[in-house]
């Protein structure tokens, strides 16, 4: 197992006109299941490819297990990667797909057979050994791709959106399986995804990326509770956080339309965004900040409903199990301690 450290990594494409990564510093703990989360195009796959050695950084250092790996060729880095489209060799049978890495490293035949059998048992693909990749379902292909990575017992696993090609049901079960598998292996895993649910559920360590930079890294629950940047607050959470633009003056926040006013502990003056999660807004006047509004839309979600309420010129979303009818007036409240304030310009948390 190994720790991964990136020091001031930069990478540009098209002759440096498009920056994929900007002076990124990151330390990934040894043995942690790390999720790298971000919207498409934020540079998360580039990050993975740089660690794998498939891409060279323009500047900065990559350390794997404490050793600088910049000039170590990919096969010698002892990392394995699972690609989004699996990249199985279509002309080779499953057994050969899994075994080929060991063969090229000149392992003895018996050992190869034993190792392949072991991982295929773990991943429950023993019966598929004689098939070609195109004769497998998506979930099976994915398992073969995993087996190909596992069989080499690498120090670091790099997984690039491995679940995104699976249908919802298989994805859910595979997610749980993957988590269990890697926990047992105690392996350092870097898992790239744009799905925040997946990232939250699976990771011990979460890295949120945006536009080639890390917005926040750390314990996923901590990131959910204490987002350090507007982007993080808006990206994490099953439902998008409510945003109210306004101004902060002498510790008092007032929304642009004047409908929402509350006192805060923040002694700062300027334009800000107040954000509050739907799950933190309650029906009635239970909490300290009470608002009056009108029901705009009710979206049933099964056990609960996502209700949009118009307050002044703002639209706030909240969860309610017994929703009012559309058009009815409604009273809602939230705790001022649950509201986040971000500087309007920089997006930084106040």
């Amino acid at each position: 197992m190994a720790e991964i450290e990136l020091k001031r990594i930069s990478k540009g494409f098209l002759g440096g006109t498009v920056a994929a990564l900007r002076e990124m510093d990151l330390k990934i703990p040894d043995g942690a299941f790390t999720a790298v989360l971000g919207p498409s195009g934020c540079g998360k796959t580039t990050l993975l490819r740089i660690i794998a050695g498939l891409e060279q950084p323009d500047a900065g250092e990559v350390l794997i297990g404490g050793r600088v790996a910049n000039h170590v060729p990919p096969p010698e880095r002892n990392v394995a990667m699972v690609f989004q489209n699996y990249a199985l060799y279509p002309h080779k049978r499953v057994f050969e797909n899994i075994a080929i890495g060991l063969r090229l490293r000149r392992y003895p035949k018996e050992e190869i057979r034993a190792k392949v059998n072991e991982v295929s048992r773990i991943l429950r693909i023993e019966d598929l050994m004689e098939r070609y990749p195109k004769q497998l379902s998506g979930g099976q292909q994915q398992r073969v791709a995993l087996a190909r990575a596992l069989v080499r017992k690498p120090e670091v696993f790099l997984l690039d959106e491995p679940l995104s090609n699976l249908d919802a049901q298989v994805r859910d079960s595979t997610r749980t399986e993957l988590r269990k598998l890697f926990r047992e292996l105690n392996a350092t895993v870097l898992y790239v995804t744009h799905d925040q649910t997946e990232a939250m559920m699976m990771s011990d360590f979460l890295v949120v990326m945006d536009a080639g930079a890390i917005r926040q890294a750390g314990d996923p629950i901590h990131i959910y509770k204490e987002p350090g940047h507007r982007f993080v607050a808006e990206f994490i959470g099953t439902h998008r956080i409510n945003t109210v633009a306004g101004r902060l003056e002498n510790g008092r926040f007032k929304s642009t339309d004047g409908a929402i006013v509350l006192d805060t502990m923040i002694r700062k003056t300027g334009d800000v965004l107040m954000e509050i999660r739907p799950e933190h807004i309650a029906h009635g006047s239970r909490e300290d900040i009470t608002l009056e509004g009108e029901t705009l839309l009710v979206e049933p979600m099964g056990p609960t409903n996502l209700v949009s309420v118009r307050v002044g010129e703002n639209e706030l979303k909240m969860f309610l199990s017994s929703p009012p009818r559309v058009g009815e007036p409604m009273r809602l409240s939230f705790s001022s301690r649950k509201a986040y304030f971000f500087e309007a310009q920089s997006g930084l948390r106040l």
Binding site: R49, A52, L54, P74, P75, V79, A80, M81, F83, Q84, N85, A87, L88, Y89, P90, H91, I100, G101, L104, R105, R148
Partner: protein, 275 residues
């Protein structure tokens, strides 16, 4: 509906006849005895089938030798062309598309020149290299002439393979030549087959260069050999033998296509449907 169907088959039938008539005529002339070839009224089927012409081509003339020459020059040129083109196409694939296309266009610019225009300079060069009447002269010039086409075909085929395959292979420990020979080429078999067949047909049919570069009779290729078949006097043209030779000439092409048929059909239709 039925009328439409009948019209359709009539049309197909006439196209079929139109295309195959010359070949059928060649075949039946080859099978006629000499006196029947010129007899009037014309007979559309030989009255007596004779293998005389087919035999004569081999016994009275070194036609076997011509076939061997063609097979050596065409076969070697095909192998060399496809090999060189796959290495080039593999390199081009690694580049970004714009740059690769620019390089590929330069190759194509070379292919714009008609081969007839190249005969004299090529002959002079081969003469200097002392390669006249040597298979190498044909092999090298055929390779040069076909390389742009083969490169075009293979580059397009290689581009269709996902990049992640190479990257997975790199991580598995494949060297870059192993990626080409063990992953890219096996997966591009249909395109390789189509390319090889078309290049081979070009070489097999090529006339003007082989006429110039292989002037001694023992080195004639099939098209040259047929063109220079002559009778006992200037006034006699041995039509029967010429047709026999032409008919025989098509056999290797048919065999090659039959052998590679599965892949050729795959190659011509690849990309037509997803999957």
């Amino acid at each position: 509906m039925k009328v439409k169907k009948i019209l359709f088959y009539l049309l197909i039938g006439s196209i079929f006849l139109y295309c195959l008539f010359p070949f059928a005529w060649t075949l039946q002339t080859a099978l006629k005895p000499a006196e029947e070839v010129f007899r009037l009224p014309v007979s559309y089927f030989p009255e007596t089938v004779s293998l005389q012409n087919l035999g004569d081509v081999f016994t009275r003339r070194p036609f076997g030798r011509y076939v061997l020459n063609s097979l050596i020059a065409g076969g070697a040129a095909t192998v060399l062309t496809v090999w060189a083109a796959s290495i080039l196409a593999f390199r081009l694939r690694a580049m970004d598309l714009r740059r690769a296309m620019r390089i590929q266009r330069w190759f194509l610019a070379g292919a714009i020149l008609p081969p007839a225009l190249l005969v004299i300079p090529v002959f002079i060069v081969m003469k200097q290299l002392a390669l006249v009447n040597n298979y190498l002269s044909l092999i090298l010039s055929y390779t040069a002439l076909n390389l742009p086409f083969a490169l075009w075909m293979l580059h397009a085929a290689f581009r269709k393979l996902p990049r992640e395959l190479d990257e997975a292979a790199v991580l598995d420990g494949f060297s870059s030549s192993a990626i080409l020979y063990r992953i890219i080429l096996p997966l591009s078999r249909p395109s390789l087959a189509v390319t090889a067949v078309l290049v081979f047909i070009f070489c097999w049919n090529e006339f003007i260069l082989s006429l110039t570069l292989m002037p001694s009779q023992a080195m004639y290729t099939v098209p040259v050999g047929i063109a220079l078949l002559s009778g006992a006097s200037v006034y006699e043209i041995p039509w029967g033998e010429i047709n026999a030779a032409v008919a025989l000439t098509t056999i290797p092409i048919i065999l090659v296509i039959a052998a590679l048929q599965r892949w050729i059909i795959e190659g011509l239709t690849s990309g037509a449907v997803k999957g």
